[in-house]
Each structure stands twice: as structure tokens, then as C-alpha cells.
């Protein structure tokens, strides 16, 4: 039995549980498993896991409800697992406080990368955020409000800067349209997704080599944006 971080897996499909159990224990995680939302909530309270993998389509209750209930008392990272075509469910779960999502089917590498990002962010959350974010050729100095690309200064507008820093602070994690709009434009503007599209395009033109084939500022269609982690 490994002694790595404790992961709570809430998933009703036995095949999925089997595959995840094998992969995660092999990578040094310890695992508790729940089949229903009820069980999942109970185990989250009793075992205090370091990360939760949560399937959205559970037999007794929506995974969204589980997310909301856990968020009432805990900031443990939650990664939501869902089938394709449930974009609105994903967005709801993310807006309710989930940290990231994965679409079935997914590869183990993808899953492990997301888990690492989430665990890292949750460990950082206690202390002060790193004032310097470096992602590939991009370097963001939060203290000096300076952004450089391959050493050259990039001049950003205030909105572009706020968008970029917001994404950089959660690098590797998806941020929904709603979250970005609320943080940058204010709670009254959360429906104006076209603001985001236009400013993201501007931002890409400044930091991407080919804005039509981005490598840093990734689009999650129907959900939000993600700044690639250590690309």
C-alpha cells in the first residue's frame, strides 16, 4: 500500500474504478473509493482526502451537488470527470468550485498532469502566491507588473494584464468564462463572453507566435481558457 497523497474517487462505473485504481496506486497515490454521491460526501468528511476525483453522472445525485456541499466547508481540490457533450454541466461544476475537469475517455498522463497541477495549487494556497510565473518563453513578474516574452518586454493593456495574471496564477487549470468576466469586468458583465473573445485574441497576438495555433493560451470550447503549465 502506497503512502502518497490520499485521493477520494467517486465513480459508479466499476471498469473506470478498476482502471483508475490500478493507474493511481501504481503512481504512488493512496485511494478511497465511493460509488454514490452519499457515500462520497461521507468519505470526504471522514477521510479528509487531499484530492477528489468526482464523476458527474452518479446514480443517486448529481456530482454538481456533491461539489457544492463539499465547498461549504473544504477547499480540497476537486477534479470533475464527465462524458463529452456535457459542457454546461462542466461549467456549472467549475463555477460551483471544482478545480478542473477531464472528458472521458482520457489518458492516464493527462489525468496525472491535472492532478499534479491541482495539488500544487492547493499547497500554494496557504502561503503567498509566487510573484514570478515562468511558462516556457513567457515570464510574468507580478511584483513589478512586467511581462516579457523571450526576454523582450510585452506591452499589455490593463485588461489584458489582468486576464493574463489571473490565468497565470492558476496556470494549468481551466478558468471559466464566468470566472474571468467576473474578476476582470465585474459581476454585472458575466454574460458578455464576446469581451473575452476579443481580448483573448489581442493577448494571443502579443504572446503567441501563431495566434491560430496557440501553444500557451489554450481554449476550452464552451468552457473557458487555460494557460498551459510549464509548456
Amino acid at each position: 500500500m502506497s503512502t502518497g497523497p490520499l485521493v477520494l474517487l467517486v465513480e459508479d462505473e466499476p471498469q473506470m474504478r478498476r482502471f483508475l485504481r490500478a493507474s493511481l496506486t501504481a503512481h504512488g497515490f493512496s485511494l478511497v473509493e465511493a460509488v454514490t454521491a452519499q457515500e462520497g460526501t461521507a468519505l470526504a468528511t471522514s477521510h479528509n482526502p487531499e484530492l477528489i476525483l468526482l464523476d458527474l453522472g452518479l446514480p443517486d445525485e448529481d456530482g454538481l451537488e456533491v461539489t457544492r456541499r463539499i465547498r461549504e466547508w473544504s477547499r480540497v481540490p476537486i477534479i470533475v470527470i464527465s462524458a463529452r457533450g456535457q459542457e454546461s454541466d462542466k461549467v456549472q461544476a467549475l463555477d460551483a468550485g471544482a478545480d478542473d475537469y477531464l472528458t472521458k475517455p482520457f489518458g492516464v498522463n493527462e489525468l496525472l498532469a491535472r492532478m499534479r497541477v491541482s495539488l500544487r495549487h492547493s499547497q500554494q494556497a496557504g502561503g503567498t502566491p509566487d510573484p514570478l510565473v515562468e511558462i516556457g518563453p513567457l515570464r510574468i513578474d507580478l511584483a513589478r507588473r512586467e511581462v516579457t516574452l523571450e526576454g523582450k518586454e510585452v506591452r499589455l493593456t490593463p485588461i489584458e494584464y489582468r486576464l493574463l495574471t489571473l490565468l497565470a496564477q492558476h496556470a494549468g487549470k481551466v478558468i471559466t468564462h464566468r470566472q474571468l468576466l467576473r474578476e476582470v469586468w465585474g459581476p454585472g458583465q458575466v454574460q458578455q463572453t464576446h469581451y473575452l473573445r476579443v481580448y483573448m485574441a489581442q493577448l494571443r497576438r502579443k504572446i503567441e507566435a501563431d495566434p491560430a495555433r496557440p501553444v500557451l493560451l489554450m481554449t476550452e470550447p464552451g468552457v473557458g481558457y487555460r494557460l498551459r503549465d510549464r509548456a
Binding site: E87, T157, A212, R213, M218
Partner: protein
């Protein structure tokens, strides 16, 4: 006449009638005796309603039989008990005993008359036993009146008697009956003893008894004939008869109609009641028109076909119509007017007899007491004193004018002046005033202009001729005027009807489905009738439910609903203005497309004023309903055909899907199973390179399987119309970017060139779906483009739309017709390239959901180009500008 007892479906109940010649002969007694016998057999017998009149012998018979609870009705402050039709239909006994077929129900029931209740019960498959006095038969009404001097009001149509499978004659000698009456054993329901007295005079009883015996014998004879017909012994039967009866305004016409009905019944022949609207100068008064109308309604209720013809010469019209309809006999009333009139106007009877050739003519006597009504003598418009006053004023004006110009004008000028006044009065005010004008003019002319002046005397007798001619001109002018007016109004009505039907059929022809057709019908009906109209169509519970409404709000309560239901079930008019549920606010017209009672729906309407359902109105409404029914039928058939076609297509799709899926799902599965088992069962013989190759196979094939399943799911969603387009304002660059990111590593080393101008406007699309289009197109391009081949994505704006092109350098498109390329399961003929042929179909489905298009063509220099067009339906919203430090100016 419809007499098809033999062919009637067995599901209908039997009707047994106990026929007697007068009240008190013991019909009820006999009926109950037999009912007790039946009940002891045992048969499920229920007493629906029997009036015991507190007679102990009858009450004793009812004892022990199941009695249906009666329906209490509040009526004129009192309380009445009535037979409960609904309860009987719910109870559904085998045999129902129901006294007094001719009974009139208290208001508030489904029907006005009990015989209608009985027909409903029989239609519902319940055997009904009932009683009837012979004098209550509609066709014998006149004969009975002759015998007894009483005109019976509660009559039963002969068709009901004909529906009876059994007629049991209940007889007793008249002497015994008279003594029973004297002993007070006979009670009367709604007639006072004095009113009933003429029935019980010995002579009358004898006559009625004979009638009853004859009627029963006739029905027995009919049964024998039916049997004979059923056994195909037809040689003794003459060729088919058809009877025509000529109906006019005289009250004796009703008698003529009844005689024709009896004759038709005895000859088992269809019959037609015809009236001719004379277009000559003698026109009918309103009262006469109403009488003709009532005669036609009577004829229809007795089973005739009622027809109205128009023509100059009555006899010609009648004979022409008779020939056309193969009539074998014509019934005409005996003329009651003087011979002099025949000499002047010609005799209708003479003309018919002369022109009849092979058609038999039968002349039936008119009633002696029939008032001779001269249709021509009645003024058409009365109660308009101002018109008469104005006429008098006109005459006075003419006299004054004449007096002023007396020195300049000659006597004939004055005559012309008064003629003018008569003509003007006729044109403006109608018949009465013009006659008054004639009289006044003659008088004024005489008084003021004929010597000796200012006296009513005449010096020269020649002037008497002038007076006569003036008066005659007045008469003729007024007759012509009246006739013209009536013709005009008739023509207008007819034209309105034609126009209404035409516009209805025109609007119906563009109705695509039942609901649209129903709405068109409701709109036209409410326009035409000036009130609210509702069209009800069959619902899934076998009833009818409102589908379309128009015009004023028509409250649809319980009564209206049951009237509509009845009209639908029986194919006859119901509700307001009819005898079935007359309390309903709506009149319900069944929408029938054929002659049968099957309805496709019901039109219910409420006219603001009182409604009259005369023959003409009824026929018009029937024509209206038929148009509506035909359209509904057409819509229903079209829907069925569409559904059948869809089913066929689905069937075809399912089979091609099965074959495609079975191949394309099994291939990757086979590879995965093979590779996975090889790895599992490995015993150390595999080299590292072989192991990784097997693992690669598993991953690649699983990926392929995933894409296939995704495509199938997308297609199913598109097919089911379940695709939700969540439009957002997006930039094309971003969608292309996320599609390329999703395909990362899957495109191999094929370079991709994107040429997207930075000034492309925001487009309103579902980013997830549009991304899917790009993924499918690029995967398609990858499949057909060899390694190293360049893929291009270009865009530009063109005529208010954004046009995107995805180009490859593959082998180009096969010679498949352009549009078919985007059909399901259509694939280019490229052996060795896997695929089901769904990718492009999904692209087209998604583009169509966006009101966009997708086309494909071959590219100059080899390869294919797929062109997407996304229309800009609305202006993109503005984005607040911000000063860009990189450029030093406001953006975007």
C-alpha cells in the same frame, strides 16, 4: 330511404316497439309482463322509465325489476323526473324498458325527445323495448287529424318505427277500452281528459285501430320483403322506384310530404322533395318562404332528400329535374284555386301531366280547411310608416309642381309626372308604398288636373282609361321592383356563399397540417358567422378536443363539449338551434367528408344573434363542413404518408448503419482484443519493440473507436432534431485554434497554413459545434492527403457572410454529385481508407443548424476545397475600447 336493417352491423341493439291504437290498450302492461318473463330467464333487464300512473296492476309488475334511478330536473319552479340516458348508457343492460316513445324531455337533457334517446341506446348496442301509440307516428299525423280532429304535437318520425326489429301490436276491442276509460283505468300524462276525449269516441277508436293494424301489417310485410331480398328472390320486384314530391307554400304541402313518405316507405323507394323558386313576377312573401322551408325540413326529417331549384317555368324545371334523377313517380297537390287562375296563368298540374311522358303523376287532395294563401297579395315590407309618409309627400310634391307649371304643361305631362312618382316610390320604398303611390296619384291627378277641377268627378270618360292604366303601371312596377330586390338579395346570398366556400378552399389548400387547417376553418367560420368558432379534432381518448379557436371567446363548458361529442359520434348537427342539447351555447356541425356518419372533427360556433338552421343554411353549413373535412382528411393522409416515408427512410438508414457499424466497430475492437490478449498472455517472448507496437495499436484503435462512437452520437442527435445550438459571439481564429489543438499529433507531418485576416468580425455560432466541423473536415483532409501534403484554412468576408475554406492536396473529390457527398454513409471510393461516411453529414447538419451552408469542389492544381458560409444575421455587439500601450491608440 335508408332501410338497411339486414346489413346493419350486429353491434347495434334491437328495438322492439309495442304498438297500440290508443292510450289504455295495455301496451305498458304487456311490455312489463314480457320483461318479467325475460328477467326470470334470466336476462339482464332494467326498467329505464315507466309511468305507473299509480295503477296498482302496473306497479306490481315493476316490482322486483331493476329500476334505473331517474334524473331530477327543475322545471318552471317544480320538479320533474326524467329518464337518465347517461345512467342507462353507463349501466349497459342487455334489455332496457322505456315507456312512451313519443315523450318530450324536459329541457336540460341531451335530447329534446325520447325517441332520440332510444336511437342513441340502440346505437350503443342496448336492446330497447318501448311503447308507441299509432297516432303519434309523424306520417299519419294528417290521417289522425282527419279521424279525431286533433292535431297531435308529440310525433315520432317513421324512420324510428322502421328501425324496429320487432313490432308487437297490442290490441283490445274498442268497447272494452271505452269501458276502461269510463272506469277511470286509463290515465293521461300531459293531456287533460277533455283534450283526449275525441280519441275515445267509438268511431275514432275504430279508425285508429284500423290504422294500427295496417301499420303493423305493413311492417310485417316489409320484413317479409327484406327476407325475400336477402334470399335474392328479386324477380317479383319491379325496377327501382324513385318518388318526387312537389312542395309549395300551401299548408296542404305538409300533407303531401307525409303521403309521399308513406308511399316511399311502402314502395321502399328513395324520395325527393322539390320546391321551385319561381323567378317570375309573383314572388313569395316571407311567411310563405318560411312555410316552404318548414315543409322541406319535414321532408328531410322523414327521410327525403330536400332540393331547391330555380327557374321560370315551374313545370319545366320540375320535369327536367325528375328526368335527371330518374324519378318514376311525381306527387302533386290537387289545385285549390279557381279555374280562372289556371286560364290566366296556366295550370302547373296540366303542364306537368302533359310533359310527364313515362313518369307517373299522382295527384293528392289538399286539405279542405286549408286556408287559401295567395302569396302575391302580401306586402313584403310592413311597419315602415315613414316610407308611406314619404310616398304621400312625393305625390303631394308632384301635385304641387304640376299646379305651379299648369300653364306650361299639357295633360300627358302630368300623367308622366305621376308615373315617375310611382316608379320612384317602387324603387326606393318597395312594394306597399308603390301601390299607395298608384292610388294617391290616380286620385291627385283626377282632383287637380282633370276637369272638373278640384272635384272627384270626371267629365270625360276617356280619363277613366288613363286612371286604369296609371294604376296598372303602378302594380307592374311594384311587382318588378319587389322581384328584382328579392332576386338581388338571393343572388347576393348565393354569391356570398360561393365566395366564402371559394376563399375557404383557397386558404385550406395552403394549410400544411391538421392544426393549420383547423385554424383556417375556425377563422373562416367566425368571420362568416360573426361570432366565436372552435374546431375540435379527435383526441387520443376517442373524444374530441378543441384544436383551434377564432373570433369572440366561446366558453366551452360541459354542455358544449357533450354537444360536440354527440355531433362527432353521430355525424349530425347538435347544440344550439337543434333538437339535441339545445341549451348548449354553441351549434356543433360535424365535419364529414363523405356520406357516412364518420366525422373528422367538429366545428362549433356561436352566432351573436338567434340562429336559424333552415334547409338552405343547413346545406350551406354542410358544404362548408365538407370543405373543411376534405382538407383535414388531406392533411391527415399527407401526415401519414410523411410518416410512412420517414419510416422507410429510417429503415433504410438502419440497415446501412448496421452494415457500416458492424464493420467499422468490429475492426478496431478486433485489433484491441488481439493486441491486449497478446500482451496479457505474454510469456516473455515479445521483444520491447513488439510490445510497444502492440500498445500503440491498442491506443490508436481505441481512439478510432471513440471518434466513431462520437460521430454516431452526433448524427443521432442531429437526426432526432435534439441538437441545441448555443450561439455565442466568437472569433474564428479561436475556434480554428482549438480544433487544431484537439487534433494535435493526429495530423502527422502535414503542414498547416492558416490565413485568417485579423479584421474578421465576430460570428454568432456554437463554438463547440463549429469546432467539431473543423475537426471533421481536417480529419477528412488528413485521410486523403498523403504525408507532407499542405492543408490550408482560409477565410474572408463576402456579402455579409463569413466564408471559410478548408483545402487539401489529396486526390480531389470523386465524381459523386456535389450534394450527395454530404449524405449519410456516402463515401468516396478509396479502398483502404477507413470510415463510415458520417463526418461530412455531421458537418452539413451542424452548418444547416446555423443557417449556414457547406459545399465542396475540386481545387485547381489537385485536391479538394470545402467551403463553409456563416451568415451574419445580426450586427456583432460592441466591445468597450481601451487604450493599447503597444499601439498608442484606442482598440479594438
Amino acid at each position: 330511404m335508408a332501410r338497411s336493417t339486414a346489413q346493419r352491423p350486429p353491434s347495434r341493439g334491437k328495438l322492439k316497439i309495442f304498438l297500440g291504437y290508443a292510450p289504455g290498450v295495455g301496451k305498458t302492461y304487456k311490455m312489463l309482463e314480457l320483461a318479467r318473463e325475460l328477467a326470470s330467464q334470466p336476462v339482464d333487464v332494467v326498467v329505464g322509465y315507466v309511468e305507473t300512473h299509480n295503477r296498482y296492476d302496473v306497479s306490481a309488475l315493476v316490482l322486483g325489476l331493476e329500476i334505473l334511478p331517474r334524473r331530477a330536473v327543475a322545471y318552471r319552479g317544480g320538479r320533474l323526473e326524467e329518464f337518465d340516458l347517461g345512467a342507462a348508457l353507463a349501466r349497459r343492460p342487455q334489455v332496457l324498458i322505456l315507456d312512451d316513445l313519443a315523450h318530450t324531455n324536459a329541457p336540460g337533457g341531451l335530447h329534446d325527445r325520447r325517441w332520440q334517446d332510444v336511437l342513441d341506446l340502440v346505437d350503443a348496442g342496448i336492446e330497447v323495448q318501448t311503447t308507441l301509440n299509432v297516432h303519434e307516428l309523424e306520417s299519419l299525423n294528417d290521417v289522425v287529424a282527419q279521424i279525431t280532429g286533433i292535431r297531435v304535437r308529440e310525433t315520432v318520425p317513421d324512420t324510428v318505427l322502421e328501425r324496429a326489429a320487432d313490432i308487437e301490436l297490442v290490441d283490445c276491442p274498442p268497447e272494452e277500452l271505452t269501458s276502461r276509460v269510463a272506469e277511470g283505468k286509463v290515465r293521461f300524462v300531459d293531456q287533460s281528459r277533455r283534450a283526449a276525449a275525441p280519441f275515445f269516441q267509438h268511431g275514432a277508436l275504430l279508425g285508429l285501430r284500423e290504422l294500427a293494424l295496417r301499420t303493423a301489417a305493413q311492417q310485417v310485410g316489409d320484413a317479409v320483403l327484406e327476407l325475400r331480398e336477402a334470399q335474392a328472390v328479386q324477380s317479383t320486384w319491379p325496377t327501382a322506384e324513385r318518388i318526387m314530391v312537389c312542395v309549395g307554400p300551401a299548408p296542404s304541402s305538409a300533407r303531401l310530404v307525409r303521403a309521399a313518405s308513406r308511399m316511399a316507405a311502402s314502395l321502399r323507394a328513395p324520395w325527393i322533395a322539390v320546391t321551385v323558386d319561381d323567378s317570375r313576377l309573383t314572388s313569395l312573401s316571407e311567411a310563405d318562404r318560411e312555410r316552404v322551408e318548414s315543409h322541406l325540413v319535414l321532408a328531410e326529417s322523414l327521410g327525403a332528400e330536400a332540393v331547391r331549384r330555380t327557374g321560370d317555368r315551374k313545370s319545366e324545371v320540375l320535369l327536367e329535374y325528375a328526368r335527371r334523377r330518374n324519378v318514376s313517380r311525381i306527387l302533386v297537390g290537387k289545385p285549390t284555386h279557381s279555374r280562372l287562375r289556371d286560364l290566366i296563368r296556366g295550370s302547373l298540374l296540366d303542364e306537368i301531366v302533359r310533359g310527364s311522358q313515362d313518369i307517373d303523376i299522382q295527384v293528392i287532395a289538399g286539405e279542405a280547411d286549408a286556408p287559401a294563401v295567395d302569396g302575391g297579395a302580401r306586402p313584403a315590407r310592413r311597419g315602415r310608416p315613414w316610407a308611406y309618409a314619404a310616398t304621400a309627400g312625393l305625390v303631394a310634391l308632384a301635385a304641387g309642381l304640376g299646379a305651379l307649371t299648369r300653364s306650361h304643361l299639357a295633360a300627358p305631362d302630368f300623367v308622366m309626372l305621376f308615373m315617375l312618382v310611382i316608379a320612384v316610390a317602387a324603387a326606393l320604398f318597395g312594394r306597399g308604398p308603390s301601390l299607395v303611390a298608384s292610388v294617391l296619384s290616380v286620385f291627385a291627378y283626377n282632383f287637380f288636373f282633370v276637369p272638373p277641377l278640384y272635384t272627384p268627378w270626371v267629365a270625360d270618360e276617356r280619363h277613366l282609361l288613363t286612371f286604369g292604366m296609371m294604376f296598372a303601371v303602378g302594380l307592374v312596377t311594384s311587382a318588378i321592383t319587389l322581384h328584382l330586390r328579392r332576386q338581388e338579395s338571393d343572388a347576393r346570398t348565393r354569391e356570398e356563399h360561393t365566395a366564402t366556400l371559394y376563399s375557404l378552399s383557397r386558404d385550406l389548400s395552403s394549410a400544411l397540417d391538421e392544426t393549420q387547417a383547423a385554424l383556417v376553418v375556425a377563422q373562416h367560420a367566425s368571420e362568416l358567422l360573426g361570432g366565436g368558432a372552435v374546431v375540435l379534432l379527435p383526441d387520443e381518448h376517442g373524444g374530441v378536443a378543441p384544436r383551434a379557436r377564432s373570433g369572440a371567446e366561446l366558453p366551452f363548458g360541459e354542455r358544449e363539449t357533450s354537444a360536440a361529442r354527440w355531433a362527432f359520434d353521430h355525424g349530425r348537427f347538435a347544440g344550439h338551434g337543434t333538437q339535441t342539447i339545445p341549451e348548449s351555447r354553441a351549434t356543433c356541425v360535424p365535419l364529414r367528408s363523405g356520406p357516412g356518419p364518420e366525422s373528422l372533427g367538429v366545428l362549433a360556433f356561436a352566432a351573436p344573434g338567434p340562429i336559424s338552421l333552415g334547409i338552405e343554411r343547413r346545406h350551406f353549413l354542410e358544404a362548408f363542413a365538407r370543405q373543411a373535412a376534405l382538407a383535414l382528411e388531406r392533411a391527415r393522409l399527407a401526415e401519414q404518408a410523411k410518416r410512412a416515408a420517414l419510416r422507410a427512410r429510417t429503415e433504410q438508414m438502419r440497415s446501412s448503419l448496421l452494415s457500416a457499424v458492424s464493420h467499422d466497430l468490429r475492426t478496431p475492437l478486433a485489433a484491441i482484443t488481439g493486441a491486449a490478449t497478446a500482451l496479457r498472455d505474454e510469456t516473455g517472448g515479445l521483444a520491447e519493440s513488439q510490445r510497444s507496437e502492440l500498445l500503440e495499436t491498442v491506443c490508436e484503435e481505441a481512439d478510432r473507436l471513440e471518434r466513431l462512437v462520437r460521430n454516431l452520437l452526433d448524427m443521432t442527435q442531429l437526426e432526432a432534431g435534439a441538437l441545441l445550438v448555443k450561439r455565442e459571439w466568437v472569433l474564428l481564429e479561436e475556434v480554428v485554434g482549438s480544433a487544431l489543438a484537439r487534433l494535435e499529433g493526429r495530423l502527422g507531418n502535414r503542414p498547416i497554413l492558416t490565413d485568417l485576416p485579423t479584421d474578421l468580425p465576430l460570428i454568432s455560432v456554437d463554438p463547440v459545434l463549429l469546432e467539431q466541423v473543423f475537426v471533421n473536415l481536417l480529419e477528412n483532409a488528413r485521410k486523403y492527403t498523403p504525408d507532407g501534403g499542405l492543408l490550408e484554412i482560409r477565410a474572408h468576408t463576402e456579402a455579409g457572410a463569413t466564408v471559410i475554406e478548408v483545402c487539401d492536396r489529396g486526390p480531389g473529390l470523386p465524381e459523386v454529385e456535389g450534394a450527395r457527398l454530404f449524405d449519410k454513409f456516402v463515401r468516396g471510393s478509396h479502398p483502404g481508407i477507413p470510415g463510415v461516411g458520417l463526418g461530412l453529414a455531421i458537418c452539413r447538419g451542424i452548418m444547416e443548424a446555423h443557417q449556414g451552408t457547406i459545399t465542396a469542389e475540386n481545387r485547381e492544381g489537385g485536391g479538394a476545397v470545402f467551403r463553409l458560409t456563416v451568415p451574419s444575421l445580426v450586427q456583432p455587439p460592441p466591445v468597450p475600447a481601451e487604450v493599447d500601450p503597444a499601439e498608442g491608440e484606442a482598440r479594438p
